[in-house]
Amino acid sequence: MSTSEAAARAALRAMDPRTAPTTIPDEAAARTVALGEDWVQGQRARRLDYLRNRAIAKGLATEEVAARLDAPALSRLLGEPA
């Protein structure tokens, strides 16, 4: 396994819900504050990171992954249900 694959696997573990560092959510705020565009952008970025790491962990070349700049292209590269 290459260094980049190992790093991608470690990143996947870190962002996975079941192993991610536990944070104490501000539930009261979540119930009253609308989720804004910043939050949505953050989730899109998280999705993109996740797909990139999955592709690299799968052994795909980092250059090929970097060339796929958006989430749908990476999803197709990974052969996910379309």
Binding site: D16, A29, A30, L78
Partner: protein, 199 residues
């Protein structure tokens, strides 16, 4: 309010932990007969936290897995999560508790996994757990995927080859059978399964 359909627990599909659900997995789906809580990213998102974003109920169990009908409830989270869902940026993830799970360490098959909640997540550990369709207030359906995966034999097959000396050949994990919707419909007809649209 946004209703949606999802394949929440895909069978025979290996997740990023190397484990998989199967038709034999005890999911304890009768724990919440009226349906369960829908969370965002298992309550780990620092903004949304453990606030329920909706609810779900089981529709049926097919050879592909457990399908649910869910609803994103009205509230401060609704529009943002609906936006992400429409962009196919979210997957499904069933949540249980560490002490309640049992996994066959030899095969990776999840034996027991009481589903205590189901989450929508941008980084779900199983890409086959997909949101298949979402609905608008007037009942219009938007399909988010055009195919579903029916996976078989998730573990590598160990085959003894009749030669001297005996040797063991590990074959590749079979590729998923990804079926177009029409083919899946025909399979459902052959197997006597129908979905909530009666197809």
């Amino acid at each position: 309010m946004t209703p949606f359909d999802a394949l929440a627990v895909p069978f025979n599909s290996i997740d990023s932990y190397g484990t998989y659900f199967s038709a034999r997995t005890d999911l304890a789906l009768d724990l919440y007969p009226g349906g369960g809580a829908l969370l965002y990213h298992h309550g780990l998102d620092p903004v949304v936290g453990l606030a329920p974003i909706g609810s779900w109920r089981v529709v049926d169990t097919t050879s592909a897995g457990v399908r649910i009908a869910g609803v994103i409830s009205d509230g401060p989270h609704h529009d943002a999560i609906r936006t992400l869902m429409s962009e196919r940026a979210l997957g499904c993830s069933a949540g249980s508790a560490e002490h309640s799970m049992r996994i066959d360490a030899r095969t990776g098959e999840i034996v027991t996994y009481p589903v205590f909640e189901i989450s929508l997540s941008p980084s779900a550990s199983n890409p086959d757990a997909v949101i298949t369709a979402m609905r608008s207030a007037d009942g219009r359906v938007t399909f988010l995927v055009s195919e579903i995966a029916v996976r078989v034999a998730p573990t590598p097959t160990v085959r003894i080859v009749a030669s001297e000396p005996p040797r063991i050949r590990i074959t590749e994990t079979p590729r998923a059978r990804v079926m177009p919707m029409e083919q899946a419909r025909l399979l459902r007809i052959r197997t006597g399964l129908t979905d909530e649209y009666g197809r």
